[in-house]
């Protein structure tokens, strides 16, 4: 290695170090610390600070509330992402032909996505109000208690989440659609292909990659989601909207059970990383195959 390369390396390290330092202290170190915490009994209010081993994990393994939270998390993620993808794709297809007012259209679409989750929670809390909410008013004045009925709360939550995340999917699909040359369709038309055939044979395959990427992003986001359910329902009623993240936060900060709450956080962490890793492998294989 000559002097210039050494100089380059030094510069590289210099440039990279602030970010690495920040990430190291604020992300990696806490990431390891939370693993350590999950093996402790740590309750500051009662001066409890001792090693617990796998006690928390063993408890979680047979804790019905934990399994319920896991189920809610998975159902929430699956249904939410499924609906977003479907609706997003439809919206993108509808938007594709838009000529006039594209900027306005995108602004209206992105509005839902750009708002803070807390604002969305408040908006939907008001929409779902049993007697004065818009939803019930439009349903002819029935007093359905959307957020108070264990059977309805999760669907109501999912609806709110789909509302705020569908625009992201739509935008990405829309951008991809714009990149498809119209000659492809014209050629297919000449060959006598119908609309469905054009969709399934041309559009979908070209969209596959972006759909997979969107699926990855959205699934990870849905598994990590916290703000919306915490503010909208707090995990209630009767735990029907309590995801793993809400269960973890409640254990951590409602009663400062830092060890136990950390154990649940670690499970969320592991779940998210597992999903991310599998998706990335899928993506890489798809790229190699394509």
């Amino acid at each position: 290695m000559n002097a210039r390369q050494r100089g380059d390396r030094r510069t590289a390290l210099l440039y990279v170090s602030p970010a690495l330092l920040a990430l190291g202290c604020l992300t990696v170190y806490p990431g390891l610390w939370v693993l350590w915490l999950s093996l402790q009994h740590r309750i500051p209010i009662f001066d409890v600070d001792r090693f617990a081993g796998l006690s928390h994990y063993l408890f979680l393994a047979q804790d019905p509330r934990f399994w319920n939270a896991g189920r809610v998390t998975l159902v929430f993620a699956a249904v939410s992402v499924g609906l977003e993808l479907g609706l997003g794709l439809l919206t993108a297809l509808a938007l594709r032909g838009q000529r006039a007012g594209r900027r306005l259209a995108l602004a209206l679409l992105l509005l839902a996505w750009a708002l803070p989750a807390v604002v969305t929670a408040r908006i939907f809390e008001w929409l779902y109000h049993p007697s004065a909410g818009l939803v019930n008013l439009l349903l002819g004045g029935r007093t359905i208690n959307w957020l108070g009925d264990p059977a309805l709360a999760l669907p109501a939550l999912i609806l709110a989440d789909v509302w705020r995340t569908m625009p992201f999917v739509a935008l990405l699909c829309y951008a991809r659609l714009l990149g498809i040359p119209p000659e492809l369709y014209e050629a297919a038309q000449v060959d006598g292909a119908g609309r469905t055939a054009m969709f399934t044979r041309i559009t979908l395959p070209l969209l596959r990659r972006i759909l997979l990427i969107v699926l990855l992003f959205r699934t990870l986001d849905a598994l990590r989601a916290f703000d919306l359910m915490f503010v909208l329902t707090g995990g209630g009623p009767a735990g029907s909207t309590e995801t793993l993240t809400v269960y973890a936060y409640r254990s951590l900060f409602q009663t400062l059970q830092l060890g136990f709450g950390s154990a649940i956080s670690v499970v969320v962490f592991a779940l998210v990383m597992l999903v991310a890793w599998s998706y990335l492998r899928l993506l890489r294989r798809q790229r190699l195959g394509a």
Binding site: W33, V34, L37, A114, W163
Partner: protein
């Protein structure tokens, strides 16, 4: 699909789509309308109000912690954006152009970092901030938000930099420019739109961030807007009109961004997704 339509038919379709999207945004517009409704109309489910009032905005601006929270959010978001872009920009340049030791591992780490769940680090960060005496300060939030924004910023900017042809930098170097000068005069201007997109995304993320802000701030004067909105004081009854007004105020920067800076924002979103 993309058949050529007669002008009128296309206009009709365009208008229909705009109408449909406006309908999609109804939840926001309903909140906007509600923020101007009188309490009686609100609680009795009056769809179209007979009169409007500014009372809720007055309450929010004069009596609630929301105005202060707006300032806090603005400062935190700006500082986070500055810090994330500063640190992230340098790191991105190094990863894209320079022989960083362990480069692929670092890149993998950065990508993994974008998947990190906030709940995983909130308890150690809480203890850390407490130990450092940073509770209830802007610094705590800026640090926490930056740590979460950095991976995405690095990834985005590295991609943008990689798009810039290396020949340009080499030409400048041949002309005798030092590395910093190359950065300042060649890379930065070309990177500017990409950096602006990354900045917008970071600002939006920090403005909307809730979990860390809720956990790290105590007193009213230190709260950011999402926390103020979540902790909005109700008496026994929830003050729906006041909350609606506060929600609208909290939505102003995001709305400004998607209207005024739409192109840059969209570019940032797309770049993050198209490049993996």
């Amino acid at each position: 699909m993309s058949r050529q339509r007669a002008g009128g038919g296309r206009h009709l379709a365009d208008a229909a789509i705009l109408l449909a999207l406006a309908a999609y945004a109804i939840p926001f517009f309903w909140q906007l309308l509600s923020s101007f409704k009188v309490d009686a109309d609100l609680l009795h489910g009056q769809l179209v109000p007979a009169r409007l009032t500014l009372a809720h905005y007055r309450v929010v601006v004069e009596q609630s912690p929301v105005p202060r929270a707006l300032v806090n959010s603005l400062v935190v978001a700006l500082l986070t954006t500055g810090l994330a872009l500063g640190f992230g920009g340098l790191a991105a340049y190094a990863l894209a152009r320079l022989p960083v030791p362990g480069r692929s591992a670092l890149l993998l780490g950065v990508i993994a970092g974008t998947a990190f769940p906030q709940i995983a680090t909130v308890s150690p960060l809480y203890l850390l901030m407490r130990a450092l005496g940073l509770r209830d300060t802007w610094l705590a939030l800026v640090l926490a938000d930056t740590s979460f924004a950095l991976p995405l910023v690095i990834w985005l900017l590295a991609g943008f930099i990689a798009e810039i042809p290396e020949e340009l930098e080499q030409a400048a170097a041949l002309d005798g420019a030092g590395r910093l000068q190359v950065l300042r005069w060649v890379v930065l201007p070309l990177m500017a739109p990409g950096a602006a997109s990354a900045a917008l995304l970071t600002f939006l993320f920090s403005w909307n961030e809730f979990l860390f802000a809720y956990t790290f701030t105590a007193s009213e004067p230190a709260r950011t807007v999402p926390v103020a909105l979540a902790l909005f004081p109700g008496v026994f009854e929830v003050p729906w009109g006041d909350i609606a007004a506060a929600s609208i105020l909290a939505s102003l920067p995001p709305v400004v961004i998607i209207v005024v800076f739409q192109r840059l924002l969209v570019r940032g979103l797309l770049a993050g997704a198209i490049r993996e």
